[in-house]
């Protein structure tokens, strides 16, 4: 067996099953739709959440885990909950501090620490 054998077989399975699904969907096109696609604001919220997660990951190396955590949690809590800035910032600081203390100081795991140092 070649390394490519199984992946190729799987590719064909997916293609075939997807084809059958599509054919069935064609047959059922008159019936009511089950999928609830989000409205515009819902899509926007999902995209902002994903983007903030991506920024969090990109900042993790230069800023370190604790600092980027503060920014990420503060931003997302503020964005999703419409809380006051102060409250969101407090929560961010608290989670950043906990992460720093538990995972970096106490358990000594090798997360990026950033400019704060150990």
């Amino acid at each position: 067996m070649q390394p490519r054998t199984l992946p190729l077989i799987l590719g064909w399975i997916i293609l075939a099953a997807g084809g059958i699904l599509a054919a069935r969907a064609w047959h059922l096109r008159e019936e009511e739709r089950i999928i609830k696609w989000p409205d515009r604001s819902g899509t926007f919220r999902v995209l902002v959440t994903l983007a903030s997660l991506a920024v969090y990951l990109l900042l993790m190396d230069p800023l370190g885990l604790p600092l980027s955590t503060v920014l990420f949690v503060a931003f997302l809590v503020w964005y999703l909950g419409r809380y006051r800035m102060v409250w969101a910032a407090t929560l961010g600081l608290a989670s950043g501090g906990t992460v720093y203390y538990v995972f970096i100081r106490l358990l000594q795991l090798s997360f990026p620490v950033g400019p704060l140092g150990r």
């Binding site: 067996m1 070649q2 390394p3 490519r4 199984l6 992946p7 799987l10 590719g11 399975i13 997916i14 099953a17 997807g18 059958i20 699904l21 069935r24 969907a25 059922l28 019936e31 089950i34 999928i35 609830k36 696609w37 989000p38 604001s41 819902g42 899509t43 919220r45 999902v46 959440t49 994903l50 997660l53 991506a54 969090y56 990951l57 993790m60 190396d61 885990l65 955590t69 990420f72 949690v73 997302l76 809590v77 999703l80 909950g81 419409r82 809380y83 929560l91 989670s95 992460v99 538990v102 995972f103 358990l107 795991l109 090798s110 997360f111």
Partner: protein, 502 residues
């Protein structure tokens, strides 16, 4: 490997000495705490805590390790139930019904049943371990690559049929899960595939990232989109399981003990397989299978019991051959070897007091866990009362930490992010999650055993049907496929995964 009352009693007297009891307690507590940290599963939890055991002597250290192991296993299911983050593949079936229960304000009963089921199954299979270990050890020897392949093929086909009427979607999920896990190197030859020339993809896609993405991040995205204010709207929480809950799930506890223990004897058959099989079994024999996936308490009892039974069953091959059956046991094996214990046929003759002290302390660890955890249930259950705009970011934070700490690679977190989007889309389109998860967990063993079998048989697939055990599993697999196809052909309704039907 032999049994004598003398050794067992001696073991108990060692394990029950006040200092050793204290270390068992400390181990259980630490194990639970680290297991509860969302995203950190039992195996990484044990690995993190191993160095701590060096402060005490060898026997208390090993007792403590076993306690940490049990504690971490139990702690892992807490996060699965309360925030839908399975720390290990074995907690995935627990998520399915456990998180539904939490959303109904019944996280307390779910956690309580999980603790009770773990205790019952753990203790019963310890009895099995104590008395029948020598006989059982031989069962494992009858398993070669063809049997493993057949077994895993069967679990996959069972789980696909678990997706009910969404058979094709389950099949696609399975194929995608296998495909994702095949990125990187061929397990036998080391040839690279699906890497598109990228060095990071050579290391492969870790299934923990896949799980965290599909479950935790995907669920958060769905809640974000719908601007959910609370995952549980009402303020009233159920604290403890009622007698009705226990009555409803005791059958599941016993059956899952059997499934978990006997499958746990097979080297390589990790709790990730047995928990799915136990869940599937309960769903099949239930009089109300439609309740599964919508908060059936048996759906929590079965995988939790099977998980613990498999862990105890796994000690048989570990002690007898030095073969760890799952990632967590492999870490534990490392710990045992740190103390100069070489598990294998000679262990029971050379270090009887060690072995029996560990076995005795496992009984005690199970009791301690139950006593320790039932009072804590209320505290964990309250997490469901946090407003979602606060809970959501924290779930993502812990998912990131969990995915990162697998190999300390940012790459694994990106994988989790991508699978978070996949999980979101799968929820929207009515794809079942379980087949994809199990497929990504089993892919490597499935492929390895398939290739080895074909090497043995020089390329003839008949090898899976000429060996009795393998043939048995294959027959079951084929029957379940035929049944699934038949059900599929009968219904002409559009495909929707049962677990997602609103």
């Amino acid at each position: 490997m032999f049994f004598s009352w003398d050794y067992l009693l001696q073991g108990f007297s060692l394990a029950l000495s006040p200092t050793n009891l204290l270390w068992a307690l400390v181990g259980c507590l630490m194990g639970t705490l680290i297991g509860v940290l969302p995203g950190i599963g039992p195996s990484s939890g044990i690995a993190i805590l191993l160095p701590l055991t060096t402060v005490v002597g060898p026997i208390p250290a090993i007792i403590m390790m076993a306690a940490i192991y049990y504690g971490a296993m139990y702690g892992g299911s807490t996060t699965a139930i309360v925030v839908n983050i399975p720390g290990e593949a074995s907690s995935v079936p627990t998520c399915i019904d456990g998180y539904e229960l939490a959303k109904q304000g019944r996280a307390g009963p779910a956690l309580g049943i999980a603790a009770i089921s773990s205790f019952v199954a753990g203790t019963l299979s310890l009895v099995g371990l104590t008395f029948f270990a020598p006989v059982l050890a031989n069962v494992a020897l009858a398993f070669g690559p063809p049997e493993y392949f057949a077994l895993m093929f069967m679990s996959l086909s069972l789980v696909i049929s678990l997706s009910g009427r969404a058979l094709l979607k389950g099949l696609i999920g399975t194929a995608l899960g296998l495909l994702a896990a095949m990125v990187g190197q061929d397990p036998l030859t080391g040839g690279a595939r699906l890497t598109f020339g990228s060095e990071e993809l050579m290391a492969g896609v870790n299934f923990i990232s896949v799980i965290i993405g599909l479950f935790a991040i995907g669920e958060v995205l769905v809640n974000v989109e719908e601007a959910v204010a609370y995952i549980y709207e009402k303020k009233k929480l159920d604290w403890m399981p009622t007698w009705a809950d226990i009555e409803q799930s005791w059958g599941a506890m016993l059956r899952s003990t059997g499934v978990g223990f006997f499958m746990g004897l097979l080297p390589g058959c990790a709790p990730s397989v047995t928990t799915f099989v136990a869940y599937d079994l309960e769903k099949r024999i239930s009089k109300h299978p439609e309740r599964f996936g919508k908060g059936a308490i048996e759906g929590v009892a079965a995988p939790e019991g099977a998980n613990n039974a498999t862990c105890s069953g796994g000690f048989v091959p570990l002690f007898a051959f030095g073969l760890p059956t799952g990632p967590a046991l492999a870490v534990l094996l490392g710990g045992l070897m740190m103390y100069g214990l070489q598990p294998g046929p000679m262990l029971f003759t050379q270090n009887p007091q060690f072995v029996w002290a560990v076995i005795a302390s496992m009984y005690i660890g199970n009791v301690i866990l139950l006593v320790l955890n039932l009072p804590l249930v209320g505290m964990w259950a309250r997490i469901a009362l946090l407003p979602f705009p606060m809970l959501g970011p924290l779930i993502i934070l812990f998912s990131v930490i969990g995915a990162y700490s697998i190999r300390f690679l940012a790459f694994d977190v990106w994988v989790a992010l991508i699978f978070g989007v996949v999980g979101y889309l799968m929820r929207k389109l009515g794809f079942p999650m379980a087949p994809m998860v199990l497929a990504s967990v089993l892919a490597q063993m499935l492929e390895t055993s398939l290739q080895q079998s074909l090497l043995i048989s020089q390329g003839s697939p008949l090898i899976f049907f000429t060996r009795p055990i393998a043939a048995g599993f294959m027959t079951l697999a084929l029957l379940s496929i035929i049944r699934g196809v038949w059900l599929e052909l009968r219904s002409r309704a559009p495909e929707v995964a049962e677990e997602d039907e609103a």
